[in-house]
């Protein structure tokens, strides 16, 4: 009996070990730096591609006052000129989501709601 229980334990341990390899802990946060100048994205990809379950932190700097808005996820972040702010996103839902800038009410000029980039979350 005793040796068999040991075998059981070993098998159990093996299964746990395999599980530990197969199901890694939640992925670490990825960081992407984004700079907005003259109402356009100055650096970084026009489309950020993620797989569902991924987590990313967008770090924004803009040259004017604006609110950055991820549609669908409805995450909004108010920016002041020149000050970096972080926007953590957990990609729970698949889809393609525009990220637009909403400018301050007094701001003039054209392109008052420019789309800065798209967040594309693919199913696993």
């Amino acid at each position: 009996m005793i040796p068999r229980m040991g075998a059981c334990k070993q098998v159990l341990l093996l299964i746990l070990a395999v599980l530990a390899v197969a199901v890694p802990a939640a992925e670490p946060w990825r960081t992407i730096d984004l700079r907005v100048a003259e109402r356009r994205l100055e650096n970084g990809p026009k489309t950020i591609r993620l797989v569902r379950g991924e987590r990313v932190t967008l770090r924004w700097v803009a040259d004017e006052k604006m609110t950055v808005h991820v549609h669908g996820y409805d995450i909004a972040l108010a920016l002041e000129p020149g000050i970096m702010k972080a926007m953590p996103i957990e990609a729970r839902v698949a889809g393609r989501f525009p990220v637009t800038a909403h400018l301050a009410p007094g701001a003039g000029g054209r392109h008052r709601e420019p789309t800065l980039l798209y967040l594309e979350v693919q199913p696993e």
Partner: protein, 469 residues
């Protein structure tokens, strides 16, 4: 047939956003992922393969009557039964109540598009939903059209319509014109998600309809001028049921196989061909206007005096008509002994299944997402803080339909629509052209046209959606 911009502009559910008043992005905004390349190629390959197989089968088949099979779901005797009439009356009452609620809420309610029942009801439930029901179930609009119900009630109360004769040259041109105006409102109108603007548009359209019904009689107006009766009626010819209504009474409801209702008994008139082509063009245009290709075109037209979208709505039907007529010429030429005009009148409805399939693929996830807004808004239709049914705080869930499932259903629907179109084209060719060889020859140009139109649909849903407003 595109909830395009209209819905697109139903402002973002901005409750969480800092300055909601400033934002206006569409209610119609869709978050669909582009079809992956592998599925796009699979869909296109299937389309071509299916076309070849069907043509081969067709070469060996013999002419036979299709579309004869009918099953009386609701025979005349039963339709006259009190219980059925009560059900019909109930459905109509609900439709009229919904209509009145939308107009009242639009004018008097909260003007945030997400806090008023009007935008979601008009753009998601009625516009997209009714198109689905028409194509997949039957011509429900014919039974519940609230404008007709209200007019009939007025007639019963003693109103006597003048019943002037509509000039025969009118055809269905009034319906074509009204439908184009509607498409413009949906795709290009900036105010399309503003509740008060929606209510005003409904009021104006209702007035036109009632004046038309008063002058020309309800039947004539519905048959020639009421854009939605004609539109939903065209889609419903694909559906597996046939509704017969006369004088506002439901007479009979018959079951039939899908698509056979689109086989024309006689060639369509010019205005009816135009109506079908405008429907086909509007469906594709709605999707095309979200592609990067269009974004590039629109950017190039930045300093033009006319809005690019308005121009597109004016030109797309003409482009489609031009291509269609070229192919009809080719069909007439390869079959021999038949005029282009007759071919154009016969084959236009056979393209409708492709448009329906695209429509289903295009709006699947939109309907599942945007339709949810009715849950909180049913409790608070005017957006003033009521909670009638305790659903006022329901939070709309994205991704209710799995993204992968949307891809598969889309490709399956588009290929199925293509098969239906081919089937109709083949049947019609056998019926119309003298001899099998002429019939088969005539189907080569048709095949190219249909594969082209189906591939356009696949191409559009394989494009990443780009917002250009």
């Amino acid at each position: 047939m595109s909830v395009g911009a209209a819905a697109r502009r139903l402002a973002c559910p901005c409750a969480l956003v800092a300055a909601p008043a400033a934002h206006a992005h569409g209610f119609g905004q869709r978050y669909d992922l582009p079809l992956p390349l592998s599925l796009y190629v699979t869909g296109a390959a299937l389309t071509v393969a299916v076309s070849c197989v069907m043509l081969a089968v067709f070469v060996r088949s013999s002419p036979h009557g299709a579309g004869e099979a009918r099953f009386r779901l609701l025979p005349e005797a039963l339709a006259r039964h009190g219980a059925v009439r009560l059900l019909v009356a109930l459905a109509r009452t609900i439709a009229v109540a919904g209509y009145l609620l939308v107009v009242a809420a639009g004018f008097a309610g909260n003007q945030n598009p997400f806090k008023n029942v009007a935008p979601v009801t008009v753009w998601a439930l009625w516009w997209v939903g009714m198109a689905y029901v028409s194509a997949l179930v039957g011509d429900v609009w014919k039974i519940v059209n609230p404008l007709e119900t209200i007019f009939r009630v007025a007639e019963r109360a003693g109103l006597r319509a003048l019943r002037r004769e509509l000039p025969p040259a009118a055809g269905v041109w009034p319906a074509v014109a009204l439908y184009l105006v509607f498409i413009w409102m949906e795709i290009a109108w900036d105010a399309s998600d503003r509740p008060a603007a929606i209510a005003a548009a409904i009021a104006a359209y209702s007035l036109v309809t009632w004046i038309g019904m008063f002058v020309f009689g309800a039947e004539a107006w519905l048959a020639h001028c009421e854009a939605f009766a004609r539109l939903f009626g065209t889609l419903a010819r694909f559906s597996p049921s046939e509704v017969r209504v006369a004088g506002g009474r439901l007479i009979e409801w018959r079951l039939r196989p899908y698509a056979v209702g689109l086989l024309p008994r006689a060639p369509l008139g010019i205005s009816e061909i135009a109506l079908v082509v405008v429907i086909l063009a509007s469906v594709s245009l709605d999707g095309f206007l979200e592609t990067p290709a269009w974004a590039a075109i629109a950017e190039g037209m930045d300093d033009w005096p006319v809005s690019p979208r308005t121009l597109a709505i004016a030109l797309a039907p003409l482009l489609f008509l031009g291509i269609y007529i070229i192919f009809c010429r080719l069909i007439a030429w390869s079959a021999g002994g038949v005029s282009t005009r007759r071919v154009a009148g016969l084959f236009a409805p056979t393209l409708v299944p492709i448009a329906i399939a695209y429509q289903i693929a295009h709006y699947l996830s939109f309907l599942a997402m945007a339709g949810q807004y009715i849950i909180p808004l049913a409790s608070d239709p005017f957006g003033v803080g009521w909670d009638l049914f305790g659903t006022g705080t329901y939070f709309v869930r994205l991704g209710l339909v799995d993204a992968r499932a949307v891809w598969y259903v889309s490709v399956a629907a588009i290929v199925a629509g293509h098969i239906a179109a081919l089937f109709l084209g083949h049947l019609l060719a056998l019926r119309e052209f003298a001899g099998r060889r002429a019939a088969v020859r005539s189907q080569w140009p048709m095949l190219v046209l249909m594969v082209g139109y189906t591939t356009l649909s696949l191409w559009i849903i394989a494009q990443p959606i780009v917002t250009t407003r």
